[in-house]
């Protein structure tokens, strides 16, 4: 059974592949098989930290402007909004679902806020509308996935088109550019010296997400669902209800990101945040969250956000174009995900003669 079991999942993402990520290694004692893998996963954050250290060292040697606190503070803006959504999306992916529609939600929320601003409402109302739009979109995704039981990847591809399409339908080739002055704080304000409002919120949410995932029963429930939905259901966990909350949270996070982004740009076009969904998914996966669910940590996602942010900033200082940067991120994504698998395979090969 083990031989066949081990042969099947290459490519097809089955349970065995989820545990091993690999077709080959022969599992001698299944219930102990995870130990080296867990050890490797534990070192994932170490790997990302080493990557950050390398980027900081290389960039500060290459450019004298890199290690400037104001410059670094400025640099946080280019990833904070994505990172906030990534924190919520990490939970969705941990539960073995995915939400492709987050960037569409950002666009629709921004459009609704633009309408509210055009009607002359104050900043507080505009923010409330943005967050409420995010919640509503998240709720729709949640209903599609948990009540109608649609596969989340196709359901959210559909809602992605729907949400951004609504933004296009409402705005056409126009734009909302008149926001009240006090609205600018959410994307441009500073809490203290160089510490921006955006980054402060991100740090707070990262702490919250970390505590929820790693310190509460809810966090364990999410992991359990991602590892084995059927077992979770049979254990009496409310799989659908939990998943619904996760989609709601992802929608709210996208709404919040939309508030910040709109406030930072001071304008809304329907093409706002185009392509962000893939960046955000990349951030989560780079953070060590298995796309098949169950494993991953919040510190990993935070570090991955820093890696992507610092890399963009460092390469930008060196006048490297953004699209070259995307090659680096793409290659890094594949390498970082492949590395533990290849290392595990290597260690299995080294261990085999002894066993």
């Amino acid at each position: 059974m083990t031989m066949l079991d081990a042969k099947v999942p290459s490519g097809a993402q089955d349970d065995a592949a989820k545990r091993d990520g690999d077709a080959r290694p022969v599992r001698f004692i299944p219930d102990r098989g995870d130990a080296p893998a867990l050890a490797l996963l534990r070192s994932w954050e170490t790997l990302l930290l080493a990557l950050i250290a390398a980027i900081v060292t290389a960039a500060s040697l290459a450019s004298p402007y890199f290690l400037d606190i104001w410059n670094l503070s400025d640099a946080t803006f280019n990833f904070t909004e994505k990172a906030i959504v990534a924190l919520a999306l990490a939970f969705v992916i941990l539960s073995a679902e995915i939400d492709i529609s987050v960037a569409g939600i950002i666009a629709l929320a921004s459009t609704m806020m633009g309408m509210t601003a055009a009607a002359g409402h104050p900043a507080a109302v505009i923010v409330a509308v943005g967050l409420a739009t995010g919640l509503a979109c998240g709720a729709l995704n949640g209903v599609l996935v948990t009540v109608l039981e649609l596969p989340s990847i196709v359901a959210t591809i559909g809602t992605m088109s729907l949400f951004r399409g609504l933004a296009y339908g409402i705005l056409g080739d126009g734009a909302y550019t008149r926001y009240p002055a006090e609205f600018a704080y959410f994307g441009q304000g500073y809490v203290w010296e160089w510490l921006s409002f955006e980054f402060t919120v991100f740090l707070g949410l990262a702490l919250l997400a970390g505590i929820v995932l790693h310190g509460t029963a809810f966090g364990r429930t999410v992991r359990a669902i991602g590892h084995n939905p059927a077992a979770a259901e049979f254990s009496g966990l409310r799989v659908r209800r939990v998943k619904f909350w996760l989609f709601l949270a992802a929608g709210l996070a996208a709404g919040l990101a939309s508030v910040m982004l709109t406030s930072r740009l001071g304008s809304t076009r329907p093409s706002i945040a185009t392509g962000w969904e893939l960046d955000i998914v990349t951030m989560v996966v780079l953070g060590g969250v298995a796309i098949t669910g169950g494993t991953g940590t919040i510190p990993g996602v935070v570090l991955a956000a820093l890696v992507m942010g610092l890399l963009t900033f460092g390469l930008g200082l060196l006048n490297v174009s953004g699209i070259i940067m995307s090659i680096v991120v793409g290659a890094m994504l594949i390498t970082v995900v492949a590395l533990p698998i290849l290392l595990r395979r290597l260690s299995a090969r080294l261990r085999r003669p002894a066993a």
Binding site: G165, I291, T292
Partner: protein, 333 residues
């Protein structure tokens, strides 16, 4: 026989009926839209989407996904256009062949990473999506290849008329016919269904799942490469961002066409109908007086409706035993 074998056919019939109803509705407001000449134009306009939807179907059948098709198209299209601009002497068929071969190579990279390293397809193709498009930028230096830089032969080939249809449309017809044969009449094609439908059973039957997935990615890459040429010559311009975001349209076409994202279920006919459905909407909106800006949200709503219908159909047939179990448990509780 099992009701399962009839299911895809019934679904295609349903889609065909819905498509005809849609055409009927459009005809009420714009009779000109349903003239044969105009419908042929819609088909030609949808040709690239059709080809890519068929390619994606092969991949999705094996429970994988290929997000890199549009980036593959952009890279191969750019490479072909630059070659043509730099060396107008190279015969066009050779360039077409070269584009397809290059696309195949890019698809093989995806396939090898999924097969040999065992990475999830969505992660691999998310990575190669950005890499391929980045390489298109590196290759071109961000420059455009404009109409006047490419040779007439290069640009005119897809427009050449044959029996009243341009070659672009005939390319789609040929791919449809070949893929229909490949999927249903060859061992390699049946393996796609077997691997996606039940990997364990496929393994017992001696089908190498990894190799099958690899082949699906090669097939997808090959057609993406072909479309790279078709896209560039059709729009007579090549730049880094061509077909940006098109991968999601392609997946949408498959989903509308009843290709199940959980693998093993779907057909060439379904993918074609799904692509045509999107093509009709795209072409009909301006005709019936709806702003094209609403197109995206309409196709979004249609995708959601199609998935709801398809998922219902799958469930009543009890395809996924596990889900039935959990459903039973719930009603019992």
């Amino acid at each position: 026989m099992s009701p399962l074998t009839h299911l895809p056919k019934r679904r295609e019939a349903l889609l065909l009926v819905v498509g005809l109803l849609l055409l009927g509705l459009i005809a009420l407001r714009a009779p000109d839209f349903v003239t044969p000449a105009n419908l042929a134009g819609v088909f030609t306009d949808s040709a690239i989407l059709i080809i890519l939807a068929i390619a994606q179907t092969a991949v999705i059948l094996t429970r994988s996904i290929d997000l890199s098709v549009a980036a593959n198209l952009a890279l191969t299209g750019m490479a072909g256009a630059m070659l043509n601009a730099a060396y107008p002497g190279i015969p066009v068929p050779l360039l077409v062949f070269g584009s397809a071969a290059m696309g195949l190579a890019l698809g093989a990279v995806n396939g090898l990473l999924v097969w040999k390293v065992g990475l999830p397809a969505i992660v691999v193709t998310l990575g190669t999506l950005t890499i391929f498009r980045g390489l298109a930028f590196v290759l071109s230096g961000g420059e455009w290849v404009n109409t006047f830089q490419m040779s007439h032969a290069y640009l005119d080939l897809p427009r050449m008329m044959l029996f009243g249809l341009p070659l672009l449309a005939w390319a789609a017809v040929a791919v449809i016919a070949l893929a229909a044969l490949l999927f249903t009449r060859t061992a390699a094609g049946r393996a796609l269904y077997a691997v996606g439908g039940n990997p364990a059973a496929a393994a017992y039957a001696g089908i190498d799942a990894g190799r099958t997935v690899f082949r699906a990615f090669c097939f997808s890459g090959l057609l993406a490469g072909l479309c790279g040429y078709l896209w560039v010559s059709r729009f007579a311009v090549a730049y880094v961002d061509i077909a940006a975001g098109f991968e999601l349209d392609v997946i949408a076409a498959c989903v509308i066409g009843g290709v199940s994202i959980s693998g093993g279920l779907g057909s060439v006919g379904g993918a074609v109908l799904g692509a045509l459905f999107l093509g009709i909407i795209k072409n009909a909106l301006p005709v019936v007086g709806i702003s094209p800006f609403w197109q995206m949200s309409i196709s979004g709503a249609i995708i959601i409706a199609a998935v709801i219908l398809n998922t219902r159909a799958e469930r009543t047939k009890g395809r996924i035993i596990l889900r039935r179990l959990t459903a039973g448990q719930e009603t019992g509780a």
